[in-house]
């Protein structure tokens, strides 16, 4: 029966997946390395993979599986394949929030012995986060993504640094009819809302889950953060529809010149420089605002390569990963696709700096970036937060009640894990 199930699932999987390069392993000693990546990554790394395959003719042949576009759908695909038992991939490109879950399930290979400490030292601070679980290295970063605050250079001289300033500038610009909205962000009930909230939380000195597992969602500071987010909608600074906005909706609004500020990832920068953008040349980038008493944070959203435990070719896999994350690969990915580099050195590269001035801001962001709670049950915990936040933002529910509930439920989830 199990065989049958596997056969069935394999058939489905192979129907969904379309490999970019159909490998033609003819030579006996040639090693096949298969990688699963979300579609955008598969497209952007295609050139580098080609080059690798040419350089390693008759030795290693890399095949990339072009996964779905949406982050969580890639995880679904990866998980289905991992549950099959008969594993079709050697390497997975994984999101920072999946790592603890995958590691705990025993799917990821311990990379500690494969990577020299000197290599580790070459990474910029923010890029080092989110690769280890319980002190073991399971992932090597490809791109360091962080949350940024985009602002309009034509509407103000300097960007705001505190939540109050952002609020007041927005109000003033709206009153002067310069923009329809002050600030657009990701308010839909999904992972993006957790990312936004983590930044606001830090801005007011609040915390989600502390290092020693305490849930602080209903602390006075956390309540203040939630209230601020709610006030953005109440005061009309953010549109009511913000509670259905994901990244693309926010980008569209900002790109059309409707809004003075936007919270988004680095990818938005190149979109805003296109000719179709109404704000081309008028966009500045900075880190998230924060109360002067506390430090600003940007949420870490990085992607990296993990080797699967079931892979038969771990050394060759590591070779591929090193190549894909090498200095020259990172330069190419930054130049052509705006992927934030992970190596310290590249942030002071004069050619790159000249080409793309936001590199300085990215560096700043990577110095203050924070990962979301690194626990195997992160998906549950984030789901609880998203639900309660969405309730507060859409229904004028009592903030204290909602955050108390979120705290209680999160504690219960964490406890259930501790007991088991």
């Amino acid at each position: 029966m199990r065989k049958l199930k596997q056969l069935f699932l394999t058939a489905i999987l192979s129907a969904i997946i379309q490999p970019i390069n159909v490998s033609s392993a003819t030579t006996k000693n040639k090693v096949d390395i298969r990688i699963l990546m979300p579609a955008p990554f598969a497209d952007s790394t295609a050139k580098i993979i080609d080059r690798f395959n040419r350089h390693h003719k008759n030795q290693i042949e890399v095949t990339v599986t072009r996964g779905p576009l949406e982050t969580e759908s890639v995880s679904d695909l990866a998980i289905s394949s991992l549950l099959l038992g008969d594993n079709p991939y050697d390497i997975l490109l994984i999101d920072v929030t999946w790592l603890p879950k995958y590691a705990e399930a025993g799917w990821l290979f311990n990379m500690d012995k494969m990577i020299d400490n000197s290599e580790w030292e070459l990474l910029i601070k923010g890029a080092r986060l989110g690769n280890k679980y319980k002190g073991t290295l399971y992932r090597w970063p490809l791109v360091a993504d962080i949350g940024l605050l985009y602002w309009r250079k034509d509407l103000m001289k300097i960007p705001p640094t505190t939540p109050n300033e952002l609020f007041n500038i927005s109000k003033r610009l709206q009153k002067e009819n310069k923009v329809k909205y002050g600030y657009v962000w990701q308010g839909k009930q999904y992972e993006g809302l957790s990312c936004v909230f983590l930044e606001v939380l830090s801005a007011f000195g609040g915390e989600w889950i502390t290092e020693n597992g305490e849930v602080k969602l209903n602390s006075p500071n956390s309540l203040k953060a939630t209230r601020w987010l709610q006030s953005l909608i109440k005061s009309g600074i953010s549109p009511k529809a913000i509670t259905s906005f994901a990244e693309s909706e926010a980008l569209q609004s900002f790109k059309a010149g409707q809004s003075a500020f936007m919270r988004n990832w680095p990818y938005a920068w190149s979109e805003l420089q296109k000719d179709s953008s109404a704000v081309k040349g008028n966009v500045g980038v900075t880190v998230m605002v924060s109360d002067p008493k506390y430090s600003s944070t940007s949420t870490l959203g990085s992607w990296g390569f993990s080797i699967l435990n079931r892979s038969a070719n771990k050394n060759e896999s590591m070779q591929v990963i090193s190549y894909l994350t090498s200095e020259s690969s990172q330069k190419l990915l930054f130049k052509e696709f705006g992927y934030t580099p992970t190596r310290k050195k590249l942030f002071s590269d004069p050619i790159l700096l000249k080409q793309n001035p936001i590199l300085t801001n990215l560096k700043k962001g990577l110095e203050i970036t924070k990962p979301r709670p690194q626990i195997p049950l992160y998906a549950q915990v984030s789901d609880i937060l998203q639900r309660e936040l969405s309730t507060v933002l859409t229904q004028k529910h009592d903030i204290k009640d909602s955050m108390n509930r979120a705290t209680y439920k999160t504690r219960r989830i964490l406890n259930s894990y501790g007991i088991d």
């Binding site: 969580e72 289905s80 009511k240 309730t391």
Partner: protein
């Protein structure tokens, strides 16, 4: 001999229906999650007691039932009207029949994405219309009280053709002589509809109802793409909740419990409504 002849069918049913159900039932009495290292550990009904206390399950059940009731009712009413229209003889009927089927032929994910943009604030055509009339934005995808209605509209748009197709088949099975005889006896069209058409297509409506209720109760892709279950979890269906538990939370034991519970509840709903319809003599088919 007869047993041998039905054996292939029985094996098939066991394979695709009975086996998964037993497997789900078995799973629902075990903890299988990240916490257990994905190993099955018996937990003696803990999943079930958790389900009974799980407010989210009951909220999702109410939402799924509401979604099913409204979309299936609307679909049946509209489909009868459309089928009656398509059953008439008029020029260009063939083309219109083909066009009517189109929404059903479209992949759900694609049409759900389309509807998401139709209801989008501020860029969707609906909001553009409200702007034209100077009304404030409706924010249909952001208000928990109303968002579920948009999913019903999308579902009705998508599956009415399917129901209409079944009912149209029913209409075509009614011999024309019946209507002619009825007219000779002095009956008018409205009476014909009530006395001949509706009673005779009843078995077809019932089949459509059966298909649609089961399908709508298990709605997943439409909701996942259109709203992702939000805002404030107001549109989350049981299937979506079960999926979240399996694929996101890696909690397979609880996911199986949700799925099995919704299957059992669907059975109960179907059987009671069948008995109820019989009692009320609304149902004449055996």
């Amino acid at each position: 001999m007869s047993l041998i002849l039905v054996l292939p069918a029985i094996i098939l049913v066991i394979l695709v229906f009975v086996f998964p159900l037993i497997r789900y039932a078995w799973l629902s009495f075990h903890a299988v999650s990240v916490s257990t290292g994905l190993v099955m550990v018996p937990n003696f009904g803990a999943n079930w007691s958790r389900l009974i206390e799980d407010q989210r399950f009951w909220q999702d059940l109410m939402q799924t039932t509401r979604f099913t009731a409204f979309s299936v009712t609307l679909e049946i009413i509209l489909a009868i009207a459309i089928a009656l229209l398509l059953d008439q003889r008029w020029n260009g009927r063939g083309i219109i029949r083909a066009i009517t089927i189109l929404p059903w032929a479209l992949p759900t994910t694609i049409m759900a994405l389309g509807w998401r943009w139709i209801f989008n604030t501020p860029y969707g055509p609906i909001e553009q219309l409200t702007q034209l009339f100077g009304i404030e934005y409706l924010n249909l995808l952001s208000i928990p009280k109303y968002t579920w209605i948009t999913t019903v509209i999308a579902d009705v748009w998508k599956t009415t053709p399917f129901v209409a197709l079944i009912i149209l088949a029913g209409l075509q099975s009614i011999p024309n002589d019946l209507y002619e005889a009825f007219r000779l006896e002095g009956g008018n069209s409205l009476q014909a509809l009530k006395k001949i058409t509706l009673p005779l297509i009843q078995p077809y409506i019932l089949i459509a109802l059966l298909f649609r209720v089961a399908q709508a109760f298990g709605v997943f892709d439409l909701i996942q793409v259109m709203t992702g279950g939000g805002p404030a979890t107001s549109t989350e269906s049981l299937a979506l909740y079960s999926y979240l538990n399996a694929m996101r939370f890696l909690d397979f034991g609880y996911s199986a419990t949700i799925m099995l519970a919704s299957f059992l509840l669907l059975m109960i709903i179907s059987i009671t409504s069948y008995i109820l319809l019989k009692r009320l003599r609304l149902l004449t088919v055996k």
